[in-house]
């Protein structure tokens, strides 16, 4: 009886989340039929003429499509790798610190950028890396000629990935730090009695102890392979770096909301969602297999 009361209260807390999901993710799915229409706002989703696969066919003909899908996968795979490895190393280093106060302050400072939006951080990044900005100032001290960082297509993916990892590593480290607290102290004690060095303890106790978390996070991030981060790219990119920086989401935004090609934009978005869905299903089975993580 008491138990049921408790769960009601939890369900109630889920409600806002579900409402959000319904309004912004489930309901808009009906609009996907636009991908198979020549959408005309006056006639609406119900009345617009059907065109079958025309939009998809045109997408395939476009040079852009290859570029944007490649850029998306390239940038997001790099981000996923960076966002798995950097926080892991950071968490392990933090874990070696014995001073509780220092540990807490470093952790807090490191995850602060996570709470800033890309609109703000984008502006800061552009200033930092501008021709007369601090970074170029520093470089010129070493005799390097000033570089217009955001004006170079070859540097853009690196900057995007680097800044994203910098923004998120503190926050992502929390998962590892939580897992690290789950490792029993007695394991470390017996290891040190057996004469294991700190380094050996890391390899034989710490890493195996959090391996499930590492595998789980890796597998779950598979679903994000086609999400290269609209907020970030949109606030950092410009036409000079389209060849390496334009991703599916920014392209969909420009075609749909700037150039009024609703159906074409929807088609590109649908392809992205479809591939993303397959990846999530795959991730789910892999998670079950290697990390014994199930939802259903």
């Amino acid at each position: 009886m008491r138990n049921r009361g408790l769960s009601k209260h939890y369900y109630l807390m889920l409600l806002p989340g579900f409402a959000w999901l319904l309004l912004f993710s489930i309901l808009p799915m009906f609009g996907l039929v636009m991908a198979f229409q020549d959408y005309n706002p006056g006639q609406g989703v119900l009345g617009s003429p059907w065109v079958g696969w025309d939009n998809f066919q045109y997408l395939l003909e476009l040079d852009d499509s290859r570029t944007i899908f490649f850029n998306t996968v390239y940038i997001s795979v790099l981000k996923i790798l960076g966002n798995l490895l950097v926080p892991l190393v950071f968490a392990l280093l933090l874990n070696e610190l014995r001073l509780g106060f220092l540990k807490k302050s470093i952790q807090t400072i490191a995850y602060l950028p996570h709470f800033l939006s890309w609109v703000i951080l984008g502006g800061i990044m552009l200033d930092l890396f501008s021709l007369h900005g601090p970074v170029n100032h520093l470089l010129s001290a070493f005799g390097v000629r000033p570089v217009s960082f955001f004006g170079r297509a070859d540097l853009f993916p690196g900057l995007a990935v680097g800044s994203d990892v910098w923004k998120e590593f503190g926050y992502n480290a929390i998962f590892y730090l939580a897992a690290l607290t789950g490792i029993s102290e007695s394991l470390y004690e017996s290891a040190s009695i057996d004469g294991a060095t700190r380094w050996q303890q890391l390899w034989t106790v710490t890493l195996p102890g959090i391996s499930t978390t590492i595998v789980l996070l890796t597998v779950l991030s598979l679903g994000n392979v086609l999400n290269a981060g609209f907020d970030q790219i949109f606030n950092l990119y410009n036409p000079i770096v389209y060849s390496t920086g334009d991703i599916v989401d920014t392209w969909v935004y420009r075609s749909g909301l700037i150039n009024l090609q609703y159906s074409l934009a929807t088609a590109a978005g649908l392809i992205k969602s479809f591939v993303g869905f397959l990846l999530i299903v795959l991730a789910y089975f892999l998670a079950d297999k290697y990390a014994q993580y199930r939802i259903f």
Binding site: P41, L131, N238, L260
Partner: protein
């Protein structure tokens, strides 16, 4: 009896005529309040006098007092986001009663059958000023908004001068270095180089910018579709000097329309610009910089390109930082045959439209009538004129030339203020006010227009300086514009232009910045033709009747 009926009948007739005359008065006030819902463009940083707001200010009260029109904002957005917000409204078919749209949006709304036919309403309610400006366009206004014989929008009418891109140069820097105003492209290069090497502005080392460039996402040159006029901080005059007209449709060797960007002249001009950039003559942060006006306001830029009206923006801000910056406009650089050959642009880029089914389409037109008749009486210093509901810029096409000539005649003592009252001058509502402001703004000598002979702090300075200095370079020149008058869309432009233009922008900016070799141009041309460009060319020729 018969007579009585007749008298009664005549009375009724005249009553009827009186009633229609009343109803069709362009400036008439409604008996009961009429509400008009609009999507309002606002400047998020703009200020209002105490107690006012975008929805309740001197202009909305003017609408209420003059016409009994209540203006309601169904949504508000910044200028930068307006198109996106409006596109959403169009896509979801959830429209305000009246709105200001661009050519692409106009066509989209036509296709979606969202527009009210304004033919009758225009005939009945357009004010004399609106009709006079419309008639002066030589039919381009009609052509821009007539579809299947019906008037579907009220076109904005701007001066063609907005389309000419001039060279604005720091004359104080020229004078200090003993340089003449550059004429050829080579002269321009030498001047830019001297500005950087000799640092006439006494700026910290490495911060002088010879030629200002576009900001991030800015245009390298105007284009026929969205930015045919008012293009600034771009390189149009350099292209023009080399005989290139990228972004516009021009007459090819056989006289038929070809696209300017894929011509060899454009390639040569790009090579020139890449050379300038490599030599450091162009802003090294072009196309990356967030705001192209930064360098001009800070006094770092020596030359930039833009239309006549830069006295409005950003010079007032530049004057606050550096009151001696003597910005003068010139019709240079000249082309190989020593001529100035700019491109012009479309005078109709904005359109006032009414949602289909709105009960009072004439209310939108009345608001424009009121604006055109009374705008010069408004205190635009206290509340910016941009806050006027659904403001569409409509003026006489020769407004600038007439205003400039009048101003000079008065300054030189050839004419008096009284000469400009009445007659044809009634169609130029700003004119009298301009002439009256002259002596408040201009200091003697009246034939020298250098910056020290102006009161740059006067609120009238931006307009008068723009008219006299910005209008000066070409007022006595005879010149031919380089492009064909095609500024609209075709079936294939609607679907394929975005990706073609993206390819163009990306290729050209990278050629200038040195990220791609010049040979990327040839590759671009091949791809452009194959990916829809040839089809579009055929369609444009058909539209032009070739």
């Amino acid at each position: 009896m018969k007579k009585r009926i007749l008298i009664g009948f005549t009375f009724l007739l005249s009553l009827g005529a009186w009633a229609t005359a009343q109803a069709a008065d362009p400036y008439g006030k409604y008996d009961s309040p009429v509400t008009i819902n609009i999507g309002n463009r606002i400047d998020p940083t703009g200020k209002f006098p105490e107690g006012d707001s975008p929805e309740n200010n001197v202009y909305t009260r003017y609408a209420k007092d003059t016409f009994n029109i209540i203006v309601k904002d169904v949504w508000q957005s910044s200028y930068a986001d307006y198109d996106r917000k409006l596109n959403l409204a169009i896509a979801s078919n959830d429209l305000p009663d009246a709105m200001v749209v661009n050519d692409a949006q106009l066509r989209q709304m036509l296709k979606a059958d969202q527009l009210q036919d304004l033919t009758d309403v225009y005939a009945k309610y357009a004010g004399p000023l609106l009709k006079a400006a419309w008639a002066k366009t030589n039919g381009t206004a009609d052509k821009a908004v007539t579809f299947n014989g019906k008037i579907m929008a009220i076109p904005g009418i701007t001066v063609p001068d907005d389309g000419y891109t001039l060279a604005w140069i720091r004359k104080d820097w020229l004078d200090k270095l003993g340089l003449k105003v550059p004429q050829s492209l080579d002269d321009l290069e030498k001047v830019a180089k001297a500005f950087i090497d000799k640092n006439p502005g006494n700026l910290p080392k490495g911060t002088t910018i010879g030629i200002g460039g576009p900001q991030s996402g800015g245009q390298l040159y105007g284009d026929f579709l969205f930015h045919s006029t008012n293009n600034n901080f771009a390189f149009d005059p350099i292209f023009s000097a080399m005989g290139a007209t990228p972004g516009y449709w021009i007459a090819g060797k056989d006289g038929k329309a070809v696209y300017g960007s894929i011509q060899p002249e454009t390639k040569a001009a790009l090579a020139k610009l890449a050379d300038f950039y490599k030599k450091g003559l162009i802003d090294p942060e072009m196309s990356v910089r967030k705001d192209a006006t930064e360098g001009i306001i800070a006094g770092q830029v020596g030359i930039f390109f833009g239309p006549w009206w830069h006295g409005y923006w950003p010079f007032p801000d530049a004057m606050k930082q550096n009151p001696n910056a003597n910005w003068q406009a010139y019709a240079v650089p000249l082309n190989a045959s020593g001529k100035w050959a700019p491109h012009s642009g479309n005078s109709h880029t904005q359109f006032l439209v009414v949602r289909k089914g709105y009960a009072h389409p004439e209310a939108a037109i009345k608001l424009q009538n009121g604006l055109m008749r009374d705008q010069f009486t408004f205190n635009v210093e206290a509340t910016r004129i941009e806050n006027y509901p659904i403001r569409t810029v409509i003026g006489m096409p020769d407004d600038l030339l007439v205003a400039r000539k009048a101003a000079l005649d008065v300054l030189m003592g050839k004419k008096k203020i009284e000469d400009f009252q009445g007659g044809d001058y009634r169609s130029y509502p700003y004119l009298l006010d301009d002439i009256k402001s002259l002596l408040l703004v201009k200091k003697p000598p009246f034939d020298n227009f250098d910056i020290q002979y102006w009161d740059t702090t006067s609120p009238k300075w931006p307009r008068i300086y723009s008219i006299i200095v910005g209008g000066a370079p070409y007022s006595n020149l005879s010149f031919k514009v380089s492009q064909l008058p095609f500024y609209s869309s075709t079936k294939t432009i609607e679907t394929k232009w975005a990706s073609l233009k993206k390819m163009e922008d990306e290729t050209f900016v990278n050629i200038i910045l040195g990220g791609k070799p010049l040979s990327a141009f040839d590759e671009f041309v091949t791809k452009w033709k194959a990916q829809g460009g040839d089809t579009i060319t055929a369609e444009v020729r058909q539209e032009l009747g070739q």
